[in-house]
Symmetry: C2
Subunit: 417 residues, 2 copies
Amino acid sequence: MRSEPIGSGARPELLTRIDDLVEELQPRLVEWRRDLHAHPEPSRAEHRTTSRIRGVLESLGLEARSLEVPTGLYADVLPDGSRRVPRIGLRADIDALSLVDQKDVPYRSTHTGVAHACGHDVHTAVLLGAAEVLVRLREQGLLNRGVRLLFQPAEETSPGGALDMVAQGLLGDLREVYALHCDPRTEVGRVAIRTGAITSACDRFQVTFSGPGGHSSRPHLSADLVMAIGAVITEVPTLLSRRIDPRVGASMVWGQVQAGNAPNAIPASGQLSGTLRCLQLEGWQRARDLVPQLIEQVAAPYGVSVQVDRSTGIPPTVNHAAAAGRLAEVCSAVLGPDSLADTEQSLGGEDFSEMVLAVPGALGRLGVRPVGSADWPDLHRPGFDVDEACLGVGVRVLSGLVALRPDPGPRRRSQAA
Amino acid sequence: MRSEPIGSGARPELLTRIDDLVEELQPRLVEWRRDLHAHPEPSRAEHRTTSRIRGVLESLGLEARSLEVPTGLYADVLPDGSRRVPRIGLRADIDALSLVDQKDVPYRSTHTGVAHACGHDVHTAVLLGAAEVLVRLREQGLLNRGVRLLFQPAEETSPGGALDMVAQGLLGDLREVYALHCDPRTEVGRVAIRTGAITSACDRFQVTFSGPGGHSSRPHLSADLVMAIGAVITEVPTLLSRRIDPRVGASMVWGQVQAGNAPNAIPASGQLSGTLRCLQLEGWQRARDLVPQLIEQVAAPYGVSVQVDRSTGIPPTVNHAAAAGRLAEVCSAVLGPDSLADTEQSLGGEDFSEMVLAVPGALGRLGVRPVGSADWPDLHRPGFDVDEACLGVGVRVLSGLVALRPDPGPRRRSQAA
């Protein structure tokens, strides 16, 4: 990827135009976001969400295109008269989480047990807003780059929707790709940026234990299935700490365990599931291959058999240096130089990683915490919410990533063909 | 307790009379047992069972007396003209287990999820049969001891029905107390006897874990509840092996574990339950007091809090030497000298232990395995069944324990007052 400097004072009339458009948009951004928030849908079931996005895009005169999977969609906004201009991808994930919304707000989830507790409602509304801004700029002849709006389904599951979009070839003709993700650790108005890995590799493991079952008075005539589960819970993370380079940062955390229904009966089956996270692409494959082997070895001496199912896995999101630099320049231009914040690599998984493996790009963290508030609910918590001023901030940044470019000129345009 | 020798050749006419009565009874023993087997009821819900027992006892002209708890009952059979003769207790437990009957037989359980998989249907039918034999012997002037028929509810739970019967004073005026328990390891026609401890102490522990919950990418910002459960599962049994005298034979086995519902969320609560069994009365109290302390100490470094609920607990059943000797003599007399088998102390719990703590007595193991069969389903297994020839064997033994006594004579009778 080639870095195109903006120049801090460049095109002030364009910045003002974007600001004006976003200010007009703000009530609709809130309306879109609250409508999505009140009607969250889990991964691969985002039917209403997809339909709403399609409605907004079509009202802008855009052609909303379906994916090869049932939910999600995409649309291109191209400068008039050209289908061959360099194209930039902007991605929003659209699915929600299976948890109970515990907020007491008018836009609280109306779908029991499903909640937008990871901010994908915000991501979607922001990308819809950017679509509108870019369409308006194009009407005024102010758009000199093409953009692909990627409304991705199923980020919260594995294999996720990013892989579907890559497999469909939607990244193949992009020069760059960007995404923003809500960040409750960063104040609204700021964007946190990092070069290199910003999220981590994540695999889900589901272990099924089987034994003969029996009575708790005769463990020697059975196989102590609960003890085998206990050993796997405690020993596999310990063994990983000695078999994998500590710099890989392998972290195995179990989230769910279930076996038996009486204190005095040894159960015949049980379930254990958890996640393995790694900081580095290097070492990740070795760690994820080692886990099933360690589980089998730990369970074997108890006479308990195991079946280990591993998810497809998500690599770390590694922000390309030039793309992260571009994102920082744009934030500085549209939000001011104080808007930039540093951020740590999280151990969370994010399948935008698949997109930046396909095309240079970067993920930024969009501040959503009200200015001055101390304890703000974290992502994936039942009370998660945002300061809705973040919506306009996000639209400014995504629009700027496309609009704040020097005119590529006729030579470059033919090059891009 | 005073041992009254039978003398091997003593009272052959009485043995013949008992044999004749049992032979007549056999079809009804099978009928009673199959009716109970098809209508099993869990602990403290043995209403139909209690009603059926009452019906049989009243048809024999006995006064069936209710307990101070809703289910179970008892009745006395006394030699004519005396309410002060030495009295012997015979006990049957009447409740069933919460498991699915997987047998394909006409008398299979008709109550879904409840099954007589511990043979209490047999115990009950045998004691009803003994009641009839003893009533018939009394009619013929052949009964010179009183007997209390103890139909005990709720053996399979804790606190169990034996404690209720002791608390009600039903053991206070007994000289001795006996019980038989089905034993699939012993062939039908034989009875296995042991002096000293024959079952073990048993406590049930239920542990509730609590923590803040969180995301599996941030264990350091939460408390890893599943890891704490794993540590308790594996470490508490290990710690017991170093803190309790190995001769106590403390055995902690977990039967049930449950926490969380997603691989990537650290749960805020969880449950673990299991049993502690000990071979000896001595050391048992120390072990059962130590377990909650060890659980708290193991969970503490994870920042997870625990609440430990311990059941009332059942002591080991310690057979008194004289009573076990009496049981052996009677078996030898009514079944022949080859009928006696040795048996090991089991790690199972049996609340008849509370009765032999109150009154000298013994528990015998009634062979129920068909002669010559190798693999017979164990107690508490969904396919458990018996060779119904065991019913008559049990009636012979229980009847003999009361009937095969020398006449106490007028001096002893007044002594007993």
